[in-house]
Amino acid sequence: MNQDSTEAERWISFCDGDEGALVSLYERYYSMFFVWGCKWLAGEEDFVKDQLHDFFLYIWESRDKLSRDINVKAYLLTSFRRRLLYQWKKHQRLTSIEQMGETFENNEAELLDAEAISEQFLRLEKALTLLSPAQREVVELRFLQSKSLQEIADMKKTSLRTVYNLLHRGISKLRSEINEKNFLWLW
């Protein structure tokens, strides 16, 4: 709750033109918006990355016109999604005139549950910090750098079994953390 009040204060500073508040909002929401943006636009990581940057500068430019009394998280997430999809359509229009429109019309209507989205994200984010350094390293090599288990074993000069165990324990830890409270995955 304290969190929420500082968030509201940060938002007011933001509206008052405090660059520090902008940066801290960006830091706070970057990972979450990136992950969700990429889920909405599957496979368009670069586009999402650019839009995220532009979105924050865009709201910064229009800060005078923004309401000061809002649910910051829900507001930002909703506006980001709207703008992202809008820009994507614009982008699509430039690349192919044909297939625009339809893809996102349905999604648009869907209600955005900012609380659920953020809770799901925060669980994963927190879970990731609970991995041991070795587990984290293997998880990164596997899931970020797309190395095979054998490649990881070769790189780390260790056995396939060790890599498998590290990865398996890492994933189990993530899952047990995420599923702690009978959690519904939205996808």
Binding site: T129, P133, F143, S172, W185
Partner: protein, 337 residues
């Protein structure tokens, strides 16, 4: 194989490949599987979503530092709006990477990381295992390899004015050039500042002794005296300097370039090395115990280079050369006979 839970899907390597879209054969296989097993869809979707979320979160964490600094840059001359920024910034990043310099930093402090233990819970605390080196990408573009048992704590104000970190143990730094933010490594009472550089540093267990070998560029070394920092030396390329409790300076010593490169390349080179010495090094390098049954064998000498080799292939080659056999008595013990 029968897959009857999300866990079982997540434990399958080829399924992960399919989720990450990386192996054509696996992708085809799993697409097929999905079509033919609609009853497993719930598990599959859950597993797939977790893999993707994890991938995206890791990617986000990797991108975030760069994105934040890009945003900060965009704020400065505010008249340029939105789009043009990205391209200017992208160009700047390219130049930045091209200007990378090499810094070699070596501290012989296998004694441990006790000095940094208090930072162990910190977000930017890195530690290499007892048997493995650890590679770290810093968000300014610099790259660090921590040697076994070394630990590195990145100051939370890293990048604001200076790029400050604290090192215990041996490490290699490839420093991204950034004159506005000096790259400083603290080791006990010493601080070494890279000014666009390549160097090597060794410190004793108690961090009271220090040796610096400079490969290229420039470094300064300062020592703490109470609250003040006094400049001990500025080094030029190919110079080496040592400091002890009583300030013995050996300037302009040549250091072993080969030795430094070996460490960087993670190579082990033996030249006419007695077998005993070879085995000792292998023991250290691979963290195992090796025994020779035949005591005369210790007098043989050995030549060879191992690079990124597994212990088994090293042992094969070694035993072949000296005409011996070896066997593992358990995972950490080897007998040569």
């Amino acid at each position: 194989m029968e897959f009857n839970s999300t866990e079982e899907f997540l434990a399958d390597e080829s399924f992960i490949d399919y989720c990450l879209d990386i192996n054509e054969t696996h992708i085809v296989f799993w697409k097929n599987y999905v079509e033919n097993n609609p009853n497993k869809l719930q598990y599959i979707n859950e597993a797939k979503d977790q893999v993707k979320s994890l991938h995206l979160l890791l990617l986000a964490e990797q991108l975030k530092p760069g994105a934040v600094s890009l945003l900060k840059q965009s704020l400065q001359p505010r008249k340029n709006r939105l789009y043009p920024w990205r391209y200017i910034a992208a160009a700047a990043v390219v130049l930045f990477l091209m200007a990378i310099v090499f810094v070699f930093y070596r501290l012989q402090n296998h004694g441990g990381h006790s000095g940094l233990a208090s930072y162990a819970s910190h977000k930017y605390f890195y530690q290499a295992g007892a048997s493995q080196k650890k590679a770290i990408n810093l968000w300014d573009g610099s790259f660090v390899i921590l040697d076994r048992n070394a630990s590195l704590y990145i100051d939370s104000a890293f990048g604001e004015q200076e790029r400050v970190m604290h090192l215990s143990g041996v490490a290699y730094f490839k420093v991204a050039k950034d004159k506005a933010h000096p790259f400083k490594v603290y080791t006990g009472d010493y601080v070494t500042t890279a000014v666009g550089t390549a160097f090597k540093l060794e410190s004793s267990n108690d961090q009271k002794k220090l040796k610096v070998d400079l490969e290229e560029g420039k470094v300064t070394v300062e020592k703490r005296k109470g609250r003040e920092w006094s400049l001990l030396a500025t080094l030029n390329p190919k110079e080496s300097i040592s400091f002890g409790d009583r300030f013995k300076l050996f300037q302009n010593q040549k250091y072993s370039v080969q030795k430094l490169n070996d460490w960087k390349a993670q190579e082990i080179i033996f030249k006419d090395a007695p077998l005993k010495e070879v085995l000792l090094q292998l023991e250290i390098y691979y963290n195992v115990a090796i025994e020779i049954e035949d005591s005369d064998a210790g007098k043989e000498t050995f030549n060879g280079t191992f690079k990124h080799d597994s212990l088994r292939s090293v042992m094969e080659m070694l035993c072949f050369t000296v005409n011996k056999h070896y066997k593992f008595t358990d995972t950490n013990h080897i007998i040569i006979y």
